[in-house]
């Protein structure tokens, strides 16, 4: 930003009155664009320029926030001494995101791993040494299934029942924790090596902490599904969060960046869309990925996705 204002100042009459117009054709949010507008106006005033709002009151300075494949591109156009001037700057980093708005540096991609007609709570992908296909473990209310490569085609997936004295709640949630070697359901806990169905034992449990939902929230999305990813984007933490609709609507997952866990989260990059509500969102190991369970309203199927966040620094 300073480089841009330097260029404008060097080619303009000192203490000139500028009519500042900003146009955002990039993927930056309106909030970010406004932040940039305010920061640049402040910097221009600091350099001795006057900012007018009436079009005829001064020299028009038009700033376009654009975006290319490699970086954001900011283009300033103005007239100085009756000559058209232009400055084009690449804005690649998020380092001063707090001062000038946040660069959309998180790109999300989703990969469909599994889908089924029955309610799905969570899933795990287990890699098999020497075999390019993976085993998928799926968690349903009261049932864990192991789908080894090819087994699903025959409809003979092995699994275990998780019996509970009371009916499962309608809003049942469950988590497969591969590293922690446990599967959590309301008032039930199964322990053992997830890779080995025979070794899993399920017992009643009073631990319901996982039902409290994610410990971190994006403002305005307090009741959304969200997950703090295991890897950072530079210095920034990355949170994924679903939208604010109900379970009858298509949904999105949006990436958010924040400098510290107590700070303000800012939308980063474009959201990815789904044909139904995101029912659950969990961090996937220590990676920049999350597991998402979606109820596809078009097909009626429950879908399991791995959502990967790529940091474009």
């Amino acid at each position: 930003m300073h480089a841009l204002v330097d260029r404008i100042a060097a080619a303009s009459t000192a203490h000139a009155t500028l009519v500042f117009e900003l146009k955002n054709i990039s993927s930056l949010s309106a909030v970010d664009a406004n932040g940039i507008r305010e920061a640049i106006q402040t910097e221009l005033i600091h350099r001795g320029f006057r900012i007018a709002s009436t079009p005829s009151a001064g020299t028009e300075l038009r700033l376009t926030l654009s975006e290319g494949a490699d970086s954001y591109v900011w283009v300033a156009e103005w007239r100085a001494k009756e000559q058209p001037e232009m400055a084009i700057l690449a804005v690649p980093e998020t380092s001063d995101a707090g001062a000038i708005g946040t660069k959309n540096s998180v790109r999300l991609e989703s990969k469909l791993i599994w889908q089924q007609p029955d309610k799905l709570l969570d899933f795990a992908v287990l890699t098999n040494p020497g075999n390019p296909a993976s085993t998928i473990v799926t968690l349903e209310p009261g049932r864990v299934n192991w789908h080894s490569p090819g087994a699903f085609q025959k409809g003979s997936s092995p699994g275990i029942d998780v019996l509970r004295k009371k009916p499962w709640p309608r809003d049942v949630h469950g988590i497969i924790d591969v590293e922690g070697k446990k599967i959590l359901l309301p008032e039930m806990e199964c322990q053992g090596d997830i890779e080995n169905a025979a070794g899993i034992k399920c017992v009643p449990s009073k631990d319901t902490s996982f039902l409290d939902g994610p410990s971190i929230h994006v403002p305005g999305h307090e009741e959304s599904e969200s997950a703090l990813l295991g890897e950072r984007c530079g210095r920034l933490f990355i949170i994924l969060a679903s939208g604010n609709g109900d379970w009858t609507q298509p949904d999105t997952i949006q990436g958010y960046a924040l400098a510290n866990l107590d700070g303000q989260a800012t939308a980063s990059g474009s959201p990815i869309e789904f044909d139904g509500p995101v029912l659950a969102l969990y961090r996937e190991g220590k990676q920049s990925a999350a597991r998402a369970i979606v109820h596809n309203l078009k097909t009626g199927f429950y879908e399991a996705y791995i959502v990967t966040a790529t940091c474009s620094q």
Partner: protein
């Protein structure tokens, strides 16, 4: 989505654990033959043998990317790829078999059958009749195909259709002639009517999504300025505009340019051309596909292609550093466009038609190969 119902939500329903077996679940599965149709006729798979045209060169590059592991810096191919050739009939068909030992994992499909030399009309028909799984669709047919129920995959616009004035042709040496024609062309009409709203009017050498500065180039016609320039030319020349004889899109665009030039007072006739054959045109329609999504690399490739046509990129391009800033890239583009030797017309996307059973296909970005190693087939073979 709202996380869950209120804590007091009533739980009801049967307490029995679900034992439903997953009968219809889907995930990437192995097996099957992917049927592909392309327009090009590849006469030799040897990378060292030059292709007859850009269409064959592009198809050949795709085949090489499937059958070789990587490309060396000297542009030679090396290593065993995801597929190996199991049958080959020059110019007609090629069958590829999955390489079980491919270092990045065996492809999902067992084999790929590629039919070559299929016309655009036949490809579209075969998609509709489910006789093929993947076929290229020409940009002007994309919208029509979608309306007829064909599943469409569209890339970012990454192919430039441009008017290039041939260096050394007397009729095009007066810059005012070139500028008048450039300003007379109605690119929006080309996109809306000929391309059926597929693609984007082009004012610069790179698309907006790559450079971020394409919006600075005007793509709007300026017929009054075109007429003004035309009126300044004492002996208005007659120009011959050439287009690829096998390309119906170029034919239609050439006819549109003839009409637009006439409005400006310049006589242009159009004719299909074959390289190195008479008549020699004063200007020609050229297609140029980006080889990279990065603006600097793409621009460098374009300048190289221009040089082969005898067109100089100008001083700003001669001094284009690597890496280059957006301002330097813009300066080079502006230099090329300002000479009116190259008149960008439209940006075209790559459009693919897919059968319902094709999964995990993603339209490749510039420079990327078709992701046929990742594609899998869902459902029974037709």
């Amino acid at each position: 989505m709202l996380r869950r119902l209120a804590a007091s939500s009533v739980a009801f329903g049967l307490a029995l654990a679900s034992t439903t077996r997953v009968e219809t679940a889907r995930r990437p599965r192995y097996g099957g033959t992917l049927r592909v149709e392309i327009g090009a006729k590849v006469s030799s798979l040897d990378p060292a043998v030059a292709a007859a045209n850009s269409e064959e060169a592009a198809a050949k590059a795709q085949l090489a990317a499937l059958t070789y592991d990587h490309r060396n810096p000297d542009k030679t191919f090396a290593g065993a790829g995801a597929f190996r050739i199991s049958a080959w009939e020059a110019g007609k068909s090629v069958t590829l078999a999955a390489n079980d030992d491919y270092r990045s994992g065996r492809p999902f499909v067992d084999s790929i059958e590629i039919q070559m030399g299929r016309s655009a009309r036949d490809r579209l028909l075969d998609l509709e009749l489910n006789k093929t799984d993947l076929a290229e669709i020409s940009p002007e047919q994309g919208r029509h195909a979608g309306e007829r129920g064909v599943r469409i995959s569209t890339s970012q616009p990454d192919e430039l259709l441009a008017l290039v004035f041939v260096s050394g042709r007397p009729a095009a040496e007066d810059e005012r002639v070139r500028e008048a024609i450039a300003r007379a062309i109605d690119r929006a009409a080309i996109v809306n009517f000929i391309l059926q709203k597929t693609g984007e009017p082009a004012g610069g050498i790179l698309p907006q999504w790559s450079s971020g500065t394409a919006f600075l180039f005007s793509a709007a016609p300026d017929i009054s300025r075109a007429k003004e320039l035309s009126s300044q030319i004492t002996r208005s020349p007659r120009l011959l505009l050439g287009y690829d004889f096998g390309d119906p899109l170029e034919h239609s665009v050439a006819e549109r340019i003839v009409v637009n030039a006439r409005e400006a007072g310049i006589t242009v006739t159009s004719d299909s051309i074959q390289r190195s054959a008479a008549p020699h045109p004063d200007a020609a329609l050229e297609r140029w596909r980006m080889e990279s999504q990065h603006p600097r690399e793409s621009l460098a490739n374009f300048i190289e292609a221009l040089r082969a046509e005898g067109v100089d990129g100008g001083e700003a391009c001669e001094m284009l550093p690597a890496p280059a800033t957006p301002e330097q890239i813009y300066g080079c583009e502006r230099g090329i466009v300002s000479s009116y030797r190259v008149v960008p017309l439209v940006w075209l996307p790559q459009i693919y038609g897919l059968s319902a059973r094709v999964r995990d296909w993603k339209a490749p970005a510039p420079g990327e190969a078709w992701p046929l190693g990742d594609v899998w087939l869902d459902g029974e073979a037709p």
